[in-house]
């Protein structure tokens, strides 16, 4: 749903970066998003395609990379990535404490790089 407004922001940033480097033809771009960022990459890709119809960016390919959620155990400080099954009760591999860990990463959404000429 809001992937459309995210795609708008994305296109604006790509435009700024291309202007900065004097580039005119966009081939591809890479998005990095966190495991719990609530982004649906297919929706983002579709939104990008829709918004770039008949524009210079039309046809550019989107690559994605997912960053796993990383938490820091509230008991012993050990950092770990819970498995997909362990998303609510997350036993620390070091001390087995299950709840209340601090989320260090997993919520990000950024454009990593572009391929252009």
């Amino acid at each position: 749903m809001h992937e459309l407004s995210i795609a708008e922001s994305l296109i604006k940033i790509i435009g700024e970066e291309m202007a900065k480097h004097g580039l005119t033809k966009l081939h591809s771009f890479k998005i990095v998003y966190g495991q719990i960022s609530a982004i649906v990459p297919e929706a983002l890709e579709t939104s990008f395609e829709i918004l770039t119809i008949d524009t210079p960016f039309a046809g550019a390919k989107m690559e994605t990379e997912v960053k796993p959620m990383v938490v820091r155990c509230r008991q012993c400080g050990h950092e770990f990535s819970p498995s997909l099954e362990e998303r609510v009760i997350m036993p620390c591999p070091q001390c087995t404490t299950e709840l209340g860990h601090e989320i260090i990463s997993g919520r990000e959404l950024y454009i990593d790089n572009i391929e252009a000429e």
């Binding site: 749903m1 809001h2 407004s5 995210i6 922001s9 994305l10 604006k12 940033i13 790509i14 970066e17 480097h21 580039l23 771009f29 998005i31 719990i36 960022s37 609530a38 509230r74 998303r87 609510v88 009760i89 997350m90 299950e98 709840l99 209340g100 860990h101 601090e102 989320i103 919520r107 990000e108 959404l109 950024y110 454009i111 990593d112 790089n113 572009i114 391929e115 252009a116 000429e117």
Partner: protein
Amino acid sequence: MKVDVVRNILEANDAVAADLNAALSARGILTLNLMSSPGSGKTSLLERTLTDLKDEFNMAVIEGDCQTENDARRVAATGARAVQINTAGGCHLDSSMVRDATEKLGVDGVDILVVENVGNLVCPAEFSVGEDFKVTILSVTEGDDKPEKYPFIFAESKVMILNKIDLLPYVNFDVNRASGFARSINKDIEIFALSATTGEGMDAWYDWLRRERAKKKK
């Protein structure tokens, strides 16, 4: 050629939100982003809070809905200042909309500003609107596994309000289970179980408001 960018896609919204928060904070205003599914009790909570605390704080509200001015009218009936944003189908408020609304509202003398977001447990969590804290309401008729199903909004929130506790005898809602899920995703989340309709449990919520507002005034 490959160009490294590494820019947060939501940076434009975040920049406006940061500026707005700085401007509101400079005036000592505590700003909250109130979120939940449709029908969880955001407006009812505000009606009771605004009524009970009207002699203590000058509170103002920015209402967000796809359509209608219903909520702004309900809030204004308590005597508080309110403006309505209609998104015409948009699923969340963003910081530009809220910034424009604060200008329309006028925040002179306001102690606490509440932005009541569009009813939605997904999208609003991603968009800062200039708030100090996000407050998410989960009502006991919605199922106690919602923090597990919608982790992002609860991970981002400072407060989870479990509303409609007067209905607990009639639903299968385990308060400890919902609280446990929320704490596993957010160790610092404050949880207040209350009923905006009967008034039960409101004191802990009011005390939190008082504490946080006092911190802003310093």
